[in-house]
């Protein structure tokens, strides 16, 4: 069943995920998905001088869910908040060399979690200013 198979890069990120874990008291936090569908992702970020200095994730889900989470964190680290907001699901899948078609939609949510974490960060900054 070739459509269900993962390529080498996806398998690498799945078996050896980068940036797994959490950040205590993060500058931004995002959580997406729902357990009924099978994927829940959390992203924690630390921001310094408008740059994503540290990022961690925790994911409940299939191989694609874990691999896309790992790849998203790898792509986001070192980027500015603005740049991070521009990372799309398609970018993540592309960077992984593609995902099985049936996994494109449901298991590729990490970019959304990242955006949510960045928005959370922006909101906190705005709150501090007021």
């Amino acid at each position: 069943m070739s459509q269900q198979e993962y390529n080498e890069k996806v398998m690498d990120h799945f078996m050896n995920p980068r940036n797994v874990g959490m950040i205590e008291d993060p500058d931004g936090y995002g959580k997406v998905g729902n357990p009924t569908c099978g994927d829940v992702m959390e992203i924690f970020i630390r921001v310094k001088d408008d740059k994503i200095e540290d990022i961690k994730f925790r994911t409940f889900g299939c191989g694609a869910a874990i691999a896309t989470s790992s790849m998203t964190t790898e792509m986001a680290v070192g980027k500015t908040v603005e740049e991070g907001m521009k990372i799309t699901r398609e970018d993540v899948a592309g960077e992984l060399g593609g995902l099985p078609p049936n996994k494109m939609h449901c298991s590729n949510l990490a970019a959304d979690a990242l955006h949510m974490a960045l928005e959370d960060y922006r909101r906190k900054i705005a709150d501090k200013k007021t």
Binding site: Q4, P35, F60, A65, N102
Partner: protein, 386 residues
């Protein structure tokens, strides 16, 4: 790396003796069993010998065994063949909600021919209740099709009671026995079965071969027309090597059954004992006792089955899952849903089906592999005890 196969409900390796029994029919004894000459005769003898061996496994008469291409075809032939032949008598069929797709999809297709189908629910252990079958029976019921043991959770159905009821009500009773033939005793006479489907590759035989037992006197029609092979029930030149393989597999299974099923049961209980004791948030799906000796179906909280399978695969263990994420349709297993598992709990399911090659050492290695994989995935999971 050591590889341990624990997915025997999906398929089994060919037993060496089975392969040996098949080989001559690919090369030297290639005759068509329908031919009158000596080439045909030796092929025909092989087919008839296999028929006797399959009949012996089920306590049937050889004349009641019809060879097919496998379990799916046997289910198609039994259900469509009986339904269509008896449609003047009635148009109602009773089956269960946890049948294999080879039964469920056939029933669904028959509704387009005007048949009505009742899909019985099951208990949380996966049992069909005889009372529910009885309640579902109506004037119009012509066929009951209930599997012997479930392929996912291994629950063994009370066939004898259902068979008795079917006989009382004069309704035909078909059973998909793909998971039980050769693994636990099957006596079609004492179970009151009219049609019983089996598949060779689930009992260390070849893929592409199967059989359907049809009790003598059952009104059934063919679903595949042609040259009238298998006494008109299944046209198409016989798959002689496959049939010879099925016969050998049936014979070996019968010889080894008592010993092998005891060994399976002991390995199964060793594994479930260890896993349930050492992994928190885990449980066994299916029935505690009325269960195939080779089947285990665990659920693990906070992790997803496809991820678990891939981790186990990396450690050399082959298993399966009912998680939606691993299915083509991205839908949770219909069996796990039917026993009342929430989608979240089906996500974390793992099916282990043991077989001939598995040893105590394999089971212990697999236990550790499951433990380590579950632990790793839980560490990175976004779900956890609240």
């Amino acid at each position: 790396m050591k590889r341990i196969y624990m997915d025997h409900a999906a398929t089994t390796p060919l037993a060496p003796e089975v392969l040996e029994a098949m080989i001559p029919y690919f090369s030297q004894r290639y005759g068509n069993p329908s031919s009158l000459h000596s080439f045909g005769r030796e092929a025909r003898e092989a087919v008839e010998e296999a028929r006797a061996e399959v009949a012996a496994l089920l306590n049937a008469e050889p004349s009641e065994i019809y060879f097919t291409s496998g379990g799916t075809e046997s289910d198609n032939l039994a259900i469509k063949g009986i339904a269509r032949r008896n449609r003047k008598k009635g148009r109602h069929i009773i089956t269960s909600s946890i049948e294999h797709p080879a039964v469920l999809e056939v029933c669904k297709a028959l509704t387009r021919e005007g048949f009505e189908v009742t899909y019985l629910p099951v208990t949380k252990e996966g049992l069909v209740e005889v009372g529910a079958v009885e309640e579902a029976v109506c004037e119009d019921t012509i066929l009951i099709s209930i599997m012997h043991a479930n392929n996912e959770i291994g629950t063994i159905q009370p066939l004898e009671e259902i068979g008795r009821l079917a006989r009382e009500k004069e309704i035909y009773f078909h059973t998909d026995g793909v998971q039980t033939a050769g693994k636990i005793p099957v006596d079609v006479r004492s179970l009151g079965i009219d049609a019983f489907s089996i598949s060779a590759h689930k009992l260390y035989g070849p893929k592409g071969a199967g059989a359907l037992f049809i009790r003598k006197g059952v009104r059934i029609e063919s679903i595949q027309q042609g040259g009238g092979h298998e006494r008109g029930m299944r046209s198409g030149t016989e798959n002689v090597p496959g049939i010879a393989g099925l016969g050998a597999a049936a014979r070996i299974a019968k010889e080894n059954m008592a010993e092998e099923s005891e060994r399976m049961r002991s390995l199964r209980d060793r594994m479930s004992g260890w896993v349930l004791k050492n992994i928190e948030g885990s449980w066994l799906n299916g029935h505690p006792d009325k269960r195939l000796p080779s089947n285990l179906n665990f659920s693990f909280r906070y992790i997803e089955g496809e991820s678990l399978l891939l981790h186990l695969d990396a450690l050399g263990i082959a298993a399966s899952t009912g998680s939606a994420c691993s299915s083509k349709k991205l839908a949770a297993s219909h069996v796990l849903s039917a026993i009342g598992l929430s989608p979240v709990d089906s996500h974390g399911s793992l099916r282990i089906t043991l077989g001939m090659s598995n040893t105590e050492e394999d089971v212990d290695y697999a236990c550790r592999a499951i433990f380590d994989s579950v632990k790793r995935l839980r560490e990175m999971s976004a779900m956890r005890p609240e």
